[in-house]
Subunit: 206 residues, 2 copies
DNA sequence: GAATTTTTATACCGATCGGTATAAATATTG
DNA sequence: CAATATTTATACCGATCGGTATAAAAATTC
């Protein structure tokens, strides 16, 4: 949806690659310790001029939204291996905990959750995208939970809507702790304890 | 510890009241929707000049630390009514959920948790104070849990250290959601579900 | 080669930031 | 009243912010 892959046909050839800028911006927003990621710094890091960036993305809001889309498209799909078809609810939860707490990809947290945490200070288009992804994530987890309930290995009396929201929130909480540099073992213990609230009534705790 | 209540004995009398500045700063940091609380804005709100503020608090870090201390001293004590002596673990948890999700004081979250969420961008002295309060909070909850375990109404196999950390984190998470303007009912459902992970093995869920 | 089109680089805009230099204002002390 | 001590108000500092005006550079079209 970058919508500017039109070949210019004539004019000065561009030295700026939107793909490269998005890689830089995504990584910067994602791995930044604090909110100190300015348009200026991204231009310096990507070695482009500000007018080039503004021509391509309009404003900071457009850049952040494009960077989030870039992240969703290129980084997030790696997570969905966790949701293989045959696996039990419990197995999937364990795999999720592993992924969120020890996978190198999540060492700096998750760009989506980081943007969600500062939702109020985002531009309107980026905020809109964050809200869309929140809705889609909850729907995805709700569908997963429904299938596991039908399969019989998720027996909690909690509604799947609440459980889906709870999963999205608790995983995000763990990823934010991870991004803050918290002890991975403590993050893991906390997340496992939180997710145990979704266990069935008579399931034994390992 | 404001340490500047020395009467000047001579010189131009001060029109600036540290107490008033701390009230303004505390409220601003606490109720601010985003990070847009600058020293300039606090001076405008408190109707004082910047040199007066810098003379009293040194720098932004000193002001934030003093505002946090002010909050701990004047606001937080109202919470401890929840931990009356006779109440059960379950009763205390319910009271905590009520307080965190519906009490007017928590409508904008909690200044401590808000500062904790941006711990990395705090000045060294404020960050030190935040860490101290984190440690003290965990210790307080651990002591409470130990007493309830001895009293026999907290039977979870979870260690009290983990449970204490979990309580501090989950209550903070709920307060941050509340500060973000999330639906109080949803925050309440999430927190109740999270705290149910600390219930004993055979306790019935109401 | 001249005209046109597109992107580039540079320099700038006003606003705001945290922090401070300076001097006027207002008190006590002699 | 003069000297001194302290706080005030004002104006300023350099840096950075998001965003843009302007014109040169580099391509195609005529």
């Amino acid at each position: 949806m970058t919508d500017s892959e039109h070949k210019p046909a004539r004019g000065r050839p561009r030295t700026m690659s939107p793909r490269k800028v998005l890689d830089v911006a995504m990584t910067a927003y994602w791995h930044a310790d604090d909110a100190g990621v300015s348009v200026n710094s991204i231009c310096r890091m990507a070695d482009i001029s500000k007018p080039s960036l503004y021509r391509e993305f309009g404003n900071e809001d457009g850049l952040m939204r494009a960077a989030l889309d870039h992240y969703i498209e290129h980084i997030l799909p790696g997570v969905f291996g966790v949701f293989s078809n045959g696996t039990t609810f419990r197995q999937t939860m364990d795999a999720l905990v592993d992924y969120a707490c020890t996978h190198p990809t999540t060492e700096c947290g998750c760009l989506f959750y980081k943007m969600r945490a500062v939702r109020h200070r985002l531009g309107p288009r980026t905020r809109e995208r964050v809200d869309e992804i929140t809705t889609r994530s909850r729907a995805f987890f709700a569908e997963f939970l429904q299938s596991r309930r039908k399969a019989g290995d998720w027996t909690s009396p909690v509604s799947r809507e609440l459980a889906a929201r709870y999963l999205v929130d608790q995983i995000g909480f763990a990823l934010m702790q991870r991004a803050s540099g918290d002890d991975p073992d403590e993050v893991r213990d906390t997340l496992k304890l939180a997710l145990s609230a979704l266990d069935g009534p008579q399931d034994p705790q390992p």
